[in-house]
Structures are given as C-alpha cells and as structure tokens.
C-alpha cells in the first residue's frame, strides 16, 4: 500500500507552480515574495518565471526567497543574491550595462526618430 502511495506520488508529481505548504502566513511578505518570483527566471524552463514553474530549481528558489524574506532581507537584497549566484540569465529584466545598452536605448531612440519623421517642421 505504501508502495502504491509512493508510486502515485511519482506519476502524479506534475505539480503546477507554488504548493500550499510554501506559502507564507504573513500576507504582506508573501506578496513581496510573489513580486520577486515574477522577476526571476526558472533556469531550466523555456520562458517561465519561478513563481509559475514546476521545476525543482524553481521550487528551491521560491523557498530561498521566502526564507530570506522571513529573515528580514529586502526585495533588492534577495534579487541581488540570486543574481550573484546564477548570473544575468536569471533576471527577466536585464541590468542596464554596456552590453544591454542597446536593449534599453534602441526603443527610446526609435520613438524619437519616428516622432521627428512625422512632426518636424519643414
């Protein structure tokens, strides 16, 4: 019987996202944990944040985030910690740097270029 339970757990362990036992009792802390969760990428998934991923690494990261939150760390500190550990790939919003300058600047430059094209007085 015990084997069956374990067996069913193994097949049915296709969990989706956060589990009930991970959720913090403190409503406000949990809210911050969610905000952090949406900023971090699940490293082994195609395009999922850790909040909504069912991969083990995402689950571990969710736990780390919550543990650190209950220890009193801020959102920025926790994101910095995860960033330093896993590199740029983990951030869904890349930092502004030389190699990401194009990403942040080109859309703005494009906007000004188009505005000039349409509205500059002849």
């Amino acid at each position: 019987m015990k084997f069956l339970v374990l067996f069913s757990y193994l097949i049915f362990s296709d969990l989706k996202a956060i589990e009930p036992d991970e959720i913090l009792d403190d409503y406000n802390l949990e809210k911050i944990a969610r905000e952090i969760g949406k900023e971090l990428r699940c490293l082994v998934c195609q395009n999922e944040d850790i909040q909504n991923s069912n991969a083990d690494i995402a689950k571990d990261l969710r736990k780390v985030v919550r543990k650190k939150l209950t220890e009193g760390e801020t959102k920025e500190q926790i994101i910095d910690f995860v960033h330093s550990k896993y590199g740029d790939f983990v951030l869904f919003k890349p930092p502004v740097r030389f190699d990401t300058l194009g990403l942040w600047l080109l859309p703005i430059l494009f906007f000004f270029f188009l505005s000039l094209f349409f509205f500059r007085k002849r």
């Binding site: 296709d14 969990l15 009930p20 195609q46 395009n47 494009f110 188009l114 349409f118």
Partner: protein, 631 residues
C-alpha cells in the same frame, strides 16, 4: 498511393509557380501575357496545393504510418477530429497549410479584385513567386510526404496539449492572418513598380482588413487556450512565440489607421506601402523565429540547420526585394507636413506608438540572441522588461485614442476641441469618481487602467450618441472605429482585472472541505476516475455555492495520456461578467483524502475575449465598407 499523388500535386505547384519566378527574374516587364498568364498560374497553384493538402489530410485520417510525419505525430486511437487537426500539428503539415493559404489568397485576388488585368498580372507574379519559394522550402527541407521504412504498426501520439479544440482551431486562423499579409506585400511591391498612386491603396484596403481580422481572432483563440489549458489562469506570457504573432498584428493595426488617410487624403501613401511590406516581413520573421527554434534554444538550430538557414535565406531575399523596390521607386523619404493637433496628426501619433511598441517587442525578443553572439553574455528578457517599457506608453497612447476621433482634419485647436467635448469630460470625471469609490482599496495601477478602459468605452459610445442626437445616419466606418475602440477598452479592463486584481486560494483541500473566495463557497466532493478515448482523467468534483444558492458542479481534470505518458491540466471555469471562478486540481496527499487545489477569482477576464470579438466585428465593418466603396 494517396500520399504519392499528394507529392505529385505538390511538385506540380512547384513547376507552375516556378514559371512566375523565372518570369519575374528574367522576362522584361512589357511582355504580353499570353504565355505567362499569372491569373491562370494562381488558379492552378491553388488547385494543386489544395489537392495535395487533401491527400495529406486523407493520409492522416486513415493513419498511414508509412509517412514519417504521421507516424511521429498521430495515432490510431486519436479521436477523428484530432487526426484531422493533427495535419497542422507538426512542422511539415503546418508549412503546407501556410502554402495553401498563400495560394488561396492569390486565387481570391485573381477572381475578386477590382484591379486592372495588367496590374493583377504584376501582383500575382510576385505572389506566385512567394509560393514558389515556400514550395521549394517544403520540397527540399520539410516534405510532409516523406516515407519511413519499415512503416511502424502504431504511431507516436499527437502532443496532448494540441488535443484541444481551442488549440486545434487557432492555427488556421493565425495563418489566414499571417499569410494574408503576403498578398498585401505583393500588391505593394507591384504598386511601387508603377509609381504609387492612391488608386492602389483602394485595392490594398480590403486585404489589409480581412487579414487583420483573422490574425486578431487567431491571437485571441491562442490566448484563450493558454488561459484554460495551462492551468494557472494567465493569458499572455510574453513568450517568443506569442511575440512573433503580435509583431505583424501591431504593424497591421498601424496600417489600418494610415490606410484610411492614405486613401482619403492622399497623405502618407508611401508610408502605407512601406508598412504593408514591413508587416509581411514581420510575419515571415515570426515564422523563422518559431520554426527554426533559435529563440527557444540556440541548439535547436543545430539539430536541423538546413531548415533554419533556408527560412533565413527566404526571409532575407524577400525583405531585401521589398525594401529595395521601395527605395528604388520612391524619391527619398517624403516627409509629411502634419501638425500634431489634427486628425492626421493623431493617426501619425498612433503609428508612432504602435511602431515603437513593435520595435520594443522585436528588440526584446531577439536581443538575447544578439548579446550571446556579440558579447557572449546570456541574458533573459521577459514580462518585467516589457511591462516596464510599455506601461508608460499606455497612458499617452490611450489619451490620443480618446481624443483622436473628435479632432478635425487639417488643423484643430486644443481649446476649441475641449469645449466641443465638455459633456464627455464631465462624464469622465464622474466615472472616475465612481470607479475610485468602488475600488479605492485596490492597487493604484489597477484603478488607473480601469478608469482608462472606461474612458475609451464612454468616448466611443458618445461618438455614436452624437450621431443619434443629430438624427444623422451613422457611417459604417465610424461604426467600425467605435466598435474596435470599445474592444480595446474592454481588453484593457479584462487584462487589468485578471492580472493585477486576481485573488487566489491554494491549499491541500480535504474531501468535504469548503473554501470561500469572493461570494463563492467551493466544496470539494471528491475525485472520480474517468476514461477518455485515449487518456485517463482524474476529475475533481466541486460544488459551487454563491450566497448560499447552489450553482453548479465544476469538474477540473488532470489527464494522463496513454501513449506519450504526458499529463495535462484542464481547468474548470465558471464565467460571469464580473469575473471567472477558476479551479485547477493538483495531486493527492494523505492517502487521497487531501488534494492540492488551486482556486482563483479572475475579475473581468471574460471581457478580454469579448474585447477581441468587438475588434473582429469592427474590422468586419471596415472590410465591408472597403468593398462597397469600390462599386
């Protein structure tokens, strides 16, 4: 046997369309059309392609596992409907569907357009050349009729995620939109060779609207599927594949606006032609990104480099040809002389915003690829990036959208304008107060967006009201604009509700236990095991009570597919106009007395799909209008 016939038909398409290709490349423009009758070529190409497509569909229906694609993507246990939709549930078949739609649009143009026979010939020569390029891609890299030997007795399965009505039906819609833009490209490039006049714009118009309507429906269906199938109540994920479909939609939406002034006022005509070309290039780029797999993982490219490189070569040559024709035939950038406070100024503003959004999404989607090649740095770009750039744009965009329809052509005055719509402004203040009073506890962002959504809807309704007040007949084009704008308003409200305002309850729910969310009591009655045609389902039964009145039993499922050993979640949704009650069931715990259940209340979500419906209906009015004007 049938599959060999299908292959022969495909080769015939190749041969016929190759005439157009050589005609375009080597024969001078002023030939007589007795031999190179492109109208006839279009008809034949369409006939051969549909025959080939029918042969492939038939092979899928009878489960002919001697074909490689069928043995890999179908199964004899599969329900009949999914055997059929499985035709485009794989790379090879979906590209054949792409070709079918392309030849279909060529054929439709040959029999329907009001263009002169000469111009038709020029357009179809380009359209048939496009068909030739796609056919060569199919035959040389993605042949659906490829045999496998020895044929297996049973096929692998169609991906269970694709075994769903929403997903099964949305690719044809998407393709009718995506590929419909090919005829817009062909018309534009042909028009360039003859010197752009707004006579061509009138020809172009109906094709822009019809393709846009299909693409809108396709994207709507796709996000509806994601909402109920992926099991956690999201509907848009900024996934590269989604972005790829959004890019041409955005430029086509910009095009919808400029084509009106190009047609009517003969301004921004060149710009309209350029947008048409860019829209099809973005459709192709989307196909390249999705089909080559470069975005999902750089390694997918290496698995089958010929396909990726072939599409890249097609993309490059088609883009180059279009852009080259543009710059060769228009005399420099003809900068318009437009003042901001005028109808054409507002339409230009719309284009500036739409294209900036397009460009941002394009950069965000392909930048990780660039930075890994150029700087050897692996970065991710996701929802937080897109939100942080696009949110600030939303506010001025929506204000322009509200004022635009009330601003006069040529030049208008801001003070006079505000005076004209003072009643509307008072209504705006009132509705803002009402929304704020009802939801002051919610996040500020959600209050702002819901107020903006209400403003759009009310300003559109007020437009109609003005016509009714003056007892004037409402023109179709006004009706179209109003419906489409209301659609956007509804979409903003729906998206805000279901993203910012959603409430959730996630727990280990015991059988018999009740959970309260909003006014609903959700009692867990237990789980039954149900056998589907090719899967086993764990179906949860939840009794929904609203204000102590029994409503219904919701049955979310978890399905275990027999052949592929894959699991899918099927959420159960109770939709109301105020929000969706959304239940998904997870795993069993404690000897099956407890189950993980996820219950959400997603406010206003249904308005997203109603908004998409309004957009499509609005587009249809424009389409009908553009047809009737010609006669």
């Amino acid at each position: 046997m049938i599959s060999e016939i299908g292959l022969i038909f495909l080769i015939l398409t190749f041969v016929i369309s190759s005439f157009s290709f050589f005609n375009l490349l080597f024969v001078s423009k002023k030939n007589n059309h007795t031999f190179f009758d492109e109208l006839k070529f279009s008809k034949l190409a369409f006939f051969f392609t549909i025959a080939s497509f029918i042969c492939l569909s038939y092979s899928f229906l009878v489960s002919d596992f001697s074909l490689n694609v069928i043995s890999k993507n179908s199964n004899s246990q599969l329900p009949l409907i999914y055997k059929l939709t499985g035709v485009w549930g794989n790379h090879e078949g979906s590209i054949l569907l792409w070709l079918l739609v392309m030849t279909f649009f060529g054929y439709l143009f040959s029999i329907n357009s009001s263009a002169s026979a000469d111009f038709k010939n020029n357009v179809l020569r380009i359209q048939n050349t496009l068909c030739f390029l796609i056919t060569s891609f199919i035959l040389f890299t993605s042949n659906p009729f490829e045999k496998t030997f020895p044929p297996p007795i049973e096929g692998a399965d169609l991906n269970p995620l694709l075994q769903d009505p929403g997903l099964a039906i949305h690719p044809p819609f998407l393709y009718l939109g995506y590929v419909g833009f090919s005829i817009i490209y062909s018309i534009s490039v042909a028009a360039l060779s003859e010197g752009v006049k707004n006579y061509f714009i009138a020809i172009l118009k109906p094709w822009v609207f019809i393709s846009w309507i299909f693409l809108t429906c396709g994207i709507g269906l796709g996000s509806w599927w994601a909402y109920y199938e992926l099991g956690w109540g999201g509907f848009w994920f900024w996934d590269p594949v989604e972005n790829a479909s959004l890019l041409p939609w955005l430029t086509a939406s910009a095009l919808l606006h400029t084509i009106v002034i190009a047609d009517k006022k003969n301004i921004l005509v060149n710009w309209t032609i350029l947008l048409s070309i860019v829209t099809f290039i973005l459709s192709l780029l989307g196909t390249f990104l999705v089909r080559s797999g470069v975005l999902v993982s750089v390694h997918a490219f290496a698995n089958d480099p010929t396909r990726g490189i072939y599409i890249l070569a097609l993309l490059a040559s088609i883009s180059f040809f279009g852009i080259f024709k543009y710059f060769n035939n228009t005399h420099r950038f003809n900068r318009p002389n437009i003042s901001l406070i005028s109808r054409e100024g507002m339409i230009s503003l719309n284009n500036i915003f739409m294209l900036s959004i397009t460009f941002t999404i394009l950069i965000g989607t392909i930048y990780p690829l660039f930075s890994s090649v150029l700087f050897n740095s692996k970065i991710s770009v996701g929802a937080p990036f897109f939100n942080s750039i696009l949110m600030p744009i939303m506010f001025p965009f929506v204000i322009g959208m509200i004022l635009g329809p009330y601003i006069k052509w040529g030049k208008d005055d801001l003070i006079l304008l505000l005076n004209r719509i003072k009643v509307l402004l008072i209504i705006f203040v009132l509705i803002s107060l009402v929304v704020w009073y009802l939801s002051y506890k919610d996040p500020v962002l959600s209050i702002i967006f819901i107020i903006l959504g209400c403003w759009i809807i009310l300003s559109s309704v007020y437009e109609i009201f003005q016509f009714v007040q003056l007892k004037k007949k409402i023109p179709k084009k006004i009706f179209a604009q109003v419906l489409a704008h209301i659609g956007i308003g509804l979409l903003i409200i729906g998206a805000t509700g279901s993203s910012i305002l959603k409430q959730e309850k996630i727990q280990f729910q015991e059988i018999g236990e009740s959970i309260k969310i909003k006014n609903f009591q959700i009692q867990f009655l237990g789980v039954t095991k149900i056998e589907g045609p090719n899967y086993i389902s764990q179906t949860g039964n939840f009794l929904i009570t609203e204000n102590s009145k029994k409503l219904k039993i919701l049955k979310p499922e978890k399905r275990f597919y027999n052949t592929g050993k894959q699991v899918t979640t099927e959420a159960a949704i109770h939709s109301t106009i105020f929000g969706d009650l959304y239940i998904a069931i997870g795993d069993a715990h404690e000897n099956k007395s407890q189950w993980t259940t996820r219950i959400w209340f997603n406010p206003f979500t249904i308005w997203i799909w109603i908004g998409v419906f309004f957009l499509a209906v609005g587009g249809s009015f424009s389409f009908i209008n553009s047809l009737s004007r010609k006669r």
